[in-house]
Amino acid sequence: MGLPEITLAVTWLGLTAYVLFGGADFGGGIWDLLAGGTERGRPQRGLIEHSIGPVWEANHVWLIFVIVLMWTGFPAVFAAIASTLYIPLTLVALGIIARGSAFAFRKVSTRIPRERLFGAAFALSSLLTPFFLGTVAGAIASDRVPPGIAAGDLVTSWLNPTSLMTGLLTTAITAYLAAVFLTRDAQRDGELELAEQFRRRALVTGVVLGGLSLVGLLVLRVDAAPLYAQLTGGAGLPLLVVSVGSGVVSLLLLWRRRYLAVRLTAALAVVGLLWGWAAAQFPELLPGVTIEQAAATPAVLLATLIALAVGGALLAPSLWWLYAISQRSTKAA
């Protein structure tokens, strides 16, 4: 493995962290949207706010990492993606602004009408942002972003069967992860009724997600044949098997109320999907562009990786402390 491969792997690790943690924060917003009326939904909204409040900004930084590593490590690929897909990416960026600011505004609001207004903005943007982010992934996966600046079609590159499918899939993933994570958060706080509610949601979303994945594979077969071939017969297959297997085990664990264990298997199901895609597409980043052709000069890759290693040594204990504090029960405090 050379420097380009290590850089890409680190980028993909960042993306994985963003989907798992940042994704769950978006999913929390979706459940906020579906929590019901002001009074009936209050306990659920309280749990969601308590769970994502201290960590969402830190979780959000993973996305910035991915973008910066893309433009540092594979500048021309980044420019091709960002220029061709500027429409969905603008919508993602605006969704991120609406989600983050509305959440922060709601947190300090004390009156119900304002809480409702900011809450609605927070919840709606939580639903739409992962969808558009998913369409971007679908555009890249289905080879619709050619190399070159704005060389792809500005509209059909992200409005196509694979992109729409991936958009739905991403949204479902965030909702599923959030439901799974919230189940355990509620249990730890002794809110058994809330835990039951989120367990039901996790089960339903898990089944929906499984169905969507199946339909997604069929869509890929028609719309993105090369990726489909690699996922079902090539390098992506083992990871896809891991993903499907973990998904099934997760449903069983949820059924048996093993809320801590299901966190791991649900995450593994998502990780398998992400890395399966990566393995299936490797070594091409864009059609006709391999990782070696796209990579930045070795001096840049080395300096960046060293900086990240040093940074990681500072970040790991800090992040652990943050999660440890935020995972402490509210009741104990």
Partner: protein, 453 residues
């Protein structure tokens, strides 16, 4: 639809530049509070722990709440910038993304640390012992200053591109550390970091000056004014010195920018300093001229030669009026703030108290606005003064822009969102300054029970 053949229209280029200006100009204000406010809040918390005085601790609590809101909008308004680097300026990023990537990666780490410790600081007030809580705030300050440093090095590189070898459009060798520590890095980063404290300090002080003007002259409001005002007032003289350093740097390294800042067209010895004025038909009119002033300021020699804009072809010149006006406004606002700081300093030395005049409070109330104006016009000076280049002397802004059509609509949409974001932020911050509740902390009931005057 084959979009590769469509060059961006002039309107699309203008829209891309305005969108970048809007989102950067918006973010930079919030970012200044993100850099400066934690330190000021920690001073209050530290004084509160030392003296046990609940007023200090209440101030720290309330500033922390505002900080939480400002940090959130700062985080998300900063994210769109990293998107825009690629969406609006793919011609810049596809070649030079790797040259300026390292400082952004480092900034990512610094920002991550800032976010983590801010999460701890804000949410663990009731879960950590006071001393530990105070210490948990220190990484926020360090990481905030470091973030500002790293990001500004990338902008400095656009003014002084170094650290790479290029054959045609292909980079053959890159030294990312040399790019990061380019010649413009020292003056630009120091100028910006100090600006952050000036904006945060005067900005926070303004809020309490307004309250005192409305008659609330109790200890709480006085301290709320004094702490941030003192920080900003101590930094402003240093900042003006650093600004002079930055201007000398521009004079030696970007003479075209200096000529635009000063509205000098003919290369000349004993160049005058223009105060005010407007350029019509390549000539500075209605300006107050200080003979040989510019030569003296730029080179410490009244006979020094200053290059004029006529040395470069018209298509290589920046817009003169915008650059000149922005620079003058920044300098004017900076000196006004210096005068305000001096006024307070003299009164304090004489009677250990603030000036009694209501005019002092009125000036204090607008000092935050003046600091923001200086910040924005300073950025306009350096960014517009670099045009038509995005990378000085190497890549034109018009060659960097996304050639895809429709950028105008993107700009319109982004503008609408920013208007709403601005209204929301101002509304929530105003609410926060009025609402009485403070974050729950059972072990500090003397603070929680303290009424907000």
């Amino acid at each position: 639809m084959d979009v590769t053949t469509l060059a961006a229209s002039a309107a699309d280029l203008g829209a891309a530049r305005m969108q970048m200006a809007l989102s950067l100009g918006w973010h930079i204000i919030v970012a200044c509070f993100g850099v400066g406010m934690p330190a000021i809040t920690l001073i209050a918390e530290w004084r509160g722990q030392r003296t046990g005085d609940p007023v200090y601790r209440l101030l720290a609590r309330r500033w922390a709440r505002a900080m939480g809101v400002l940090f959130a909008v700062g985080a998300v308004s900063g994210t769109i910038l990293s998107f825009e680097m690629g969406m609006l300026w793919p011609g810049l990023m596809s070649i030079y993304g790797e040259v300026i990537g390292l400082p952004f990666a480092l900034e990512g780490i610094a920002f991550f640390i800032e976010a983590i410790f801010l999460g701890i600081y804000l949410y663990a007030w009731d879960r950590l012992p006071p001393r530990q809580h105070l210490l948990s705030g220190i990484p926020i300050v360090i990481a905030g200053v470091a973030s500002a440093f790293f990001v500004v090095t990338a902008n400095a590189w656009m003014n002084q591109p170094t650290g790479f070898d290029q054959v045609g459009n292909r980079l053959v060798a890159v030294d990312p550390w040399a790019a990061m520590f380019n010649p413009a890095t020292p003056p630009q980063t120091v100028h910006m970091i100090l600006a952050a404290f000036v904006v945060a300090g005067f900005g926070m002080a303004s809020v309490y000056a307004v309250a005192m003007l409305r008659g609330r002259r109790d200890r709480y409001h006085k301290l709320g004014f004094l702490i941030p005002f003192t920080v900003a007032a101590m930094i402003i003289p240093v900042q003006i010195g650093v600004g002079d350093w930055a201007a000398h740097f521009v004079a030696s390294n970007q003479p075209v920018k200096l000529a635009a800042m000063e509205g000098i067209f003919e290369t000349q010895r004993g160049a005058p300093l223009h105060v005010g004025g407007i350029v019509i038909d390549d000539e500075m009119r209605y300006a107050l001229e200080i003979p040989s002033g510019l030569s003296l300021l730029a080179d410490f020699d009244p006979n020094a030669e200053i290059m004029g804009l006529n040395e470069v072809p018209p298509q290589d010149r920046p817009p003169v009026n915008v650059t000149h006006l922005a620079f003058q406004t920044m300098v004017g606002a900076g000196f006004a703030l210096l005068a305000l700081a001096a006024w307070a300093g003299v009164a304090w030395l004489r009677r250990r108290d603030l000036p009694r005049s209501r005019w002092f409070l009125r000036a204090g109330a607008v000092s935050g606005v003046a600091a923001v104006v200086a910040l924005e016009t300073g950025w306009v000076t350096t960014e517009v003064g670099r045009q038509p280049w995005v990378v000085y002397g190497i890549l034109r802004t018009s060659d960097a822009v996304n050639p895809a059509p429709g950028l105008v609509y993107g700009f319109a949409l982004v503008t609408v969102v920013y208007v709403i974001l601005t209204i929301g932020t101002v509304f929530v911050l105003r609410r926060l300054s009025r609402d009485t509740p403070v974050p729950l902390a059972p072990q500090e009931d003397d603070v929680t029970a303290q009424p907000v005057p």
